[in-house]
Every structure is written in structure tokens, then in C-alpha cells.
Symmetry: D2
Subunit: 196 residues, 4 copies
């Protein structure tokens, strides 16, 4: 079991399946750091995938906080539930369905994470705007060029403040019989901003 209170859970501590991609630990750690979580907060994790961000956020906001994890992929929902059980957490609600419909029914949030490779990130941000408390933080992980552009555009139009764009390229070592080589992972762009 994971018995650390602090962030930085290694990927291999999570249940994983081939079908559902996991946000890799170094990128996840940066995403969490950009959220500036505090105990007691309400957090959305839209496109929760493996649930790894939900788990780490839930630990950081402690038992008086609340994470709401949403995904439209049933495999992702099941995997998130397995991970919640594995980490013994009771402050995460899991919702199966289309984020664009489900967000409307939710309470206000302090922090919203948006992940996934969806083409509808822009619409989701527009919907999140109404659900984010003033001063709340939005953190978006992006791998598509088109999404990067549309997110910049919508954040600008919705007058988000303190927009931070960070492209992260991680290489990890692999030991071979001849020496240590570096294997690159695909670059991820993390955009974070504050609702003004």
C-alpha cells in the first residue's frame, strides 16, 4: 500500500490496463502542482482515465475535500473505481457519462482538471467556466495541436488570468546490455489559469 501523504505516487502503484492510458507520474505531478490544491476543496477530474489525478488530488485535499471524476469510457470508470479501492479513499465520486451533460448538474468547484484527447475541450472549458469559483484554478493537459490552439483562444475570450503554458518533454532511461539509453515520451502541454 501507498503510505505517503505527499504527492508523487509512482505509476506502478496504480492499477493499470492496456485500454486506458495513464498520465505519467512526472506530468501528473506538474499538473497537480499547477492546481495549488488545499484541504477541503471541491475538484473535478474531467476525462479521469485511470483515476491517477483523482487519487492524488483526493489525498491532497484530504477527507473534508471532494473529487468528482468523470469519464465517458466505461473502462476508465472501472479502472478509476479499482484505484479508489486500492488507495482506500472515500472522498471521490465517479460519474459515467458525457462531461458536457454531467457538468451542468454539479456543484461549484475550486479546481478543475481537464484531460483526455477529446476534440471538445473548448466546449468543456466553456461549461466549466460557470462551475468554477472566482479565483478557482483550471489545469488542462493537451497533446493535440488543434486543442492547444483552441484552448488558448477560449481562455483568452473567457478572460482567464495568470495563463501559464508549459510544454513538458520527459525522457526515461532504459538499461541495455551496452549502456543506458534515454527513451523519449511524447511531449505534453499543460495549460493552467485562474478564473478572474
Amino acid at each position: 500500500m501507498w503510505n505517503y501523504k505527499t504527492p508523487g505516487i509512482p505509476d506502478n502503484f496504480f492499477e493499470r490496463t492496456e485500454k486506458v492510458p495513464i498520465t505519467k507520474e512526472e506530468v501528473r505531478t506538474i499538473q497537480l502542482s499547477k492546481a495549488r490544491l488545499s484541504p477541503g476543496q471541491v475538484v473535478f477530474d474531467i476525462g479521469c482515465g485511470s483515476g491517477s489525478i483523482s487519487i492524488e488530488a483526493a489525498l491532497q485535499i484530504e477527507s473534508n475535500g471532494k473529487v468528482i471524476a468523470i469519464d465517458y469510457d466505461l473502462d476508465a470508470i472501472e479502472l478509476t473505481k479499482k484505484n479508489i479501492e486500492k488507495f482506500g479513499l472515500s472522498n471521490i465520486s465517479v460519474i459515467f457519462g458525457n462531461a458536457k451533460e454531467k457538468i451542468k448538474e454539479l456543484e461549484l468547484a475550486d479546481v478543475i482538471f481537464i484531460g483526455g484527447t477529446g476534440g471538445d475541450t473548448k466546449e468543456i472549458i466553456e461549461l466549466c467556466q460557470d462551475k468554477l469559483k472566482s479565483g478557482g484554478r483550471i489545469v488542462i493537459g493537451i497533446i493535440l495541436i488543434e486543442t492547444l490552439f483552441s484552448v488558448l483562444d477560449i481562455l483568452d475570450r473567457l478572460q482567464f488570468g495568470s495563463i501559464d503554458i508549459t510544454q513538458v518533454t520527459i525522457s526515461k532511461s532504459r538499461k541495455t546490455s551496452k549502456g543506458t539509453m534515454m527513451l523519449a515520451r511524447n511531449p505534453v502541454t499543460i495549460i493552467s489559469a485562474t478564473k478572474t
Copy 2:
């Protein structure tokens, strides 16, 4: 004032000077996550520079833990002290001097951070080996090719386990009159390992 309990303090919340480089927030966050800190731990921050790692570690190990920050540069020591004051922390001791001499006098540590651009990282790791508890973590930030090689060599010889090598390349956006450009920061390699 910084009133978040969780990690990810933005760089501009720290006191900074031109003379002392600060480990940038995204790299610092990954270094901290690799340490897997817990409340109550004893942490060394060797080559503490601005003190930013000491500050974040001190928050994570809480008031019953203890950080010992060492630097041989007086400007770094003064800046670390200013940051300790700014964040109102009382669980960080600051030591001015040559780490190779000072380490010997210290108690055992749960986690040791080694930073800086020094050419003597190898000797420092050898000294740290004696001061690190079994199962303790070492986290090293590296920018020199020669240091990268010598650290891999010494960790291997000292039989450290779970050696993780992560090269991090961060680009940050800058808004210009014509659009958003990405500015690259120099790559940093973070090596972490567990004392077996």
C-alpha cells in the same frame, strides 16, 4: 503569503536574487515527488541555493520533520534564510560550509537532495551513503554530462536500488505582439534511488 499546504509553490513566491539560481518550479516539483516525503522525516538539502527545495520539503514533512540546508555560497545561505523567514518556517536548519566536511557531523537522514553544478557530486554521494537510513531516498539534479556519468557509476557501485533517470525539458510560453512563442529551458536530469 503562501497559504497552501500542498506542493507546487510558483517561483515568484520566493525571494530571488540574480546571483543565486533557483531550481525552476516544474523541475523542483518532480524532484520533490521523487523523494516521497512523509511527515516527521529528516531531510538534507545539499547545495540549497535559493532554499526553494528546503521550503517545499519543510512544508511536506510538517513541523515534526526537519530540513538541514547546506551551501558553501554565502549568497545562497542568506537567500535561503530570507525564504525561511518569508514562509514562516521553523523546521529548517541552515549550515554554511563545505558539504563534504559538514555531512559527517549530521544525524541520519530519510531523504537527501543534492543540487548544484559542483564537480564533486560523486564524493558527496559517497558521504551521503553513510548518512542515509536504509530505505532512504536520494534525489540528484544534474546539468553536467560528466556529473551524470559519475553519478550513475557511483550509485551502481554503492548498490543503490530502484535507480530512476528522468531527463526533463521544459518550454514556457511568452506572449509577443504576433503570437505565443515557446522558450526552452535547459534540460535537467533528475536521478533518484533508494538505499538498499
Copy 3:
């Protein structure tokens, strides 16, 4: 003097000034390779800057080919002229003015290079479309996120084929008293395509 016939002229063989940025040699070499130049071709270099791409292209297309270099910055024009003189080339014409007006007056091209950080790359590509021979190549160096998106969009709409998107991140070594560090250069995205 440069007495090589083959590509890969080091940056320090060019005349340079503080005011005019030069496409760095590794990026320039990739841009040139994407153009697939042949002797006798007609080449446009739009936003020629230091003229370094014009020079290398002029060497590759040989004396029966022709480069037309355009820039709206007088410093760039002067620097390009100095470099043409330095390399003793007679197959480069230099045009001072707004590319959007000047392109219309030009003959058909086999290859068009588009550089610079302008916000009007999209319009320039539309104009180039009419001037590019069927099967001709277009090679665009991009540093702005907004330009990257708009270029992808317009190439798609103009039905260019074999679209290749290559992001290049180069780090160069610097020897310090303590060892060899790597200094990152800003990432550049090179898009190349064929007119169908």
C-alpha cells in the same frame, strides 16, 4: 571562404548582426533537406533574414538556378546582400518589401521557404499557392503556436499533399570550469508539403 559544395555551412561563416536573427545551422539544414532542391530550380526565400537559407539554397541549385530573397526589414536585406557578397554568389535576387505585394509579380517557383515570426504566414501561403509549380515544395519554419495552427489549417484547405510536421529541439554544449552543460534552444516546428 567557404569552399564546400555540400550543405551544412556553420553559423559563424555568415555575416551576422544583433538585429537580424539567423536560422541556426541544424534547423536550417533540416529545412533545406525538406525542400529536396535540384540544380536549375527557382526558389523563393520569404522572410530571408540573414540570408543563410538563400545562400545554402543557391549553392545547391547551382548557377543555372535562381533564388529570390524577400524581406520587409531593411537590416535583413542589407545583411543578406553582405552574405551574398561574402559567398560570391550571383544567382540570388534580393527584394525589399512586403511579401504579400511582391509575390504577385514573381515567376513560378519550384520551392518556397517561408520563415519569420510574422502573423501573416497564412495569407502568404495562399499567395504562394498560385506561384508554386505543381509538385513544388513549400517549407515553413514556425515558432508561434497560432501560426502553427493556421498553417496546418490552410495547407489542409489548399489540399497540399505529403504534409510533414517536424518539431526540432536542439541543445548545444557549453564547456564550463566544472564540466559540460547543455543549453537548450527554443523549439522550432518545420512544416513541409507538396503542391498537388
Copy 4:
């Protein structure tokens, strides 16, 4: 058929097999540019793999130049021969065997390329030193940390001049149903130097 005289042959113009890795075109182009080839030169390609560097070098040094391609892997030798035939070149000799033995028997070279993931790059450089003409160029493609360090060390000891270290990280686009994502390739370090 490839009917361009200039460098930058796309990877898919070469015969390829699963067993033999090919130096990707963008990295190959930079390696070739660092060699500063001229017609009539003698070039070694040690660890020739698919033969792609030999092919492009042979085109650049023209029919009065000569490439000697060496590999200890029979699959690489066969593939190189297939590519020589495909490009209809007659100025490449292929040698099957251990470079450390074969180099001794060769004539003097103007340019030496060293590739491959071998652990014996250092010894090969020492042997090459005797076969490289004064003012000749050596270009080494490196993917192992240990090799990077040992190459720097030996070039320094053998008093090579103009040592250039370039780390290249390339990402290529892939179009998905949802948009364009960037796929990273493993970083390669290219070291080039001049025999003094």
C-alpha cells in the same frame, strides 16, 4: 528512383528491414552537415546499419569520392548492399567484419562517421585517429550516456579541435481522428570534431 542530387533523402526511399535500425532523416541530415563533405573525399561509415549515411555521403562526394561502409552485422551489410543497388551507386565499398580489425587495413580518410550503439566507440575513435587526415572530420551519433561521456573524454585526450556537441530531439506529427498529435523520438547526441 531518387533523382535529387542534394541531400535530405526521405527515410521511405530506402530499403528497410525490422532487424536493422535506420538513422532517421532529420538526424542523418544534421550528421551529414557536420561532416562538411566535398567531392572527391574518402569517407568511412563505421556501423553503417541500413547504409543511409553511406548513400547520402556517396552522392555528396560524387563519383570521384569513395565511401567505405563497415558493419559486423550481416543483416546490415545485406541491407546496405540493397540500398547501394537501389540508388545505383558505384563509389561505396562494403566490408563485413569487426571495425576494430578492419580499420587498420584502410587508407586515410577525410571524414569518418561512427554510428551504432556499441560499447566500443572509444576504441574505434582511437583507431580512427590514425586513419584520419589532418583537418579531417569525425562525426559520431550517440544514444548511450556512457558512450557520450567516454567519447568526450577520448576526443579531449586525442586533442581533437572544434568539438561540437548537439543534442537533437525530434517529434513528428501523427494525424488522429481527433486532431494532430506529436510523437517524440528518442534524443540523439551528435558529436563532431576536427583532427588537429
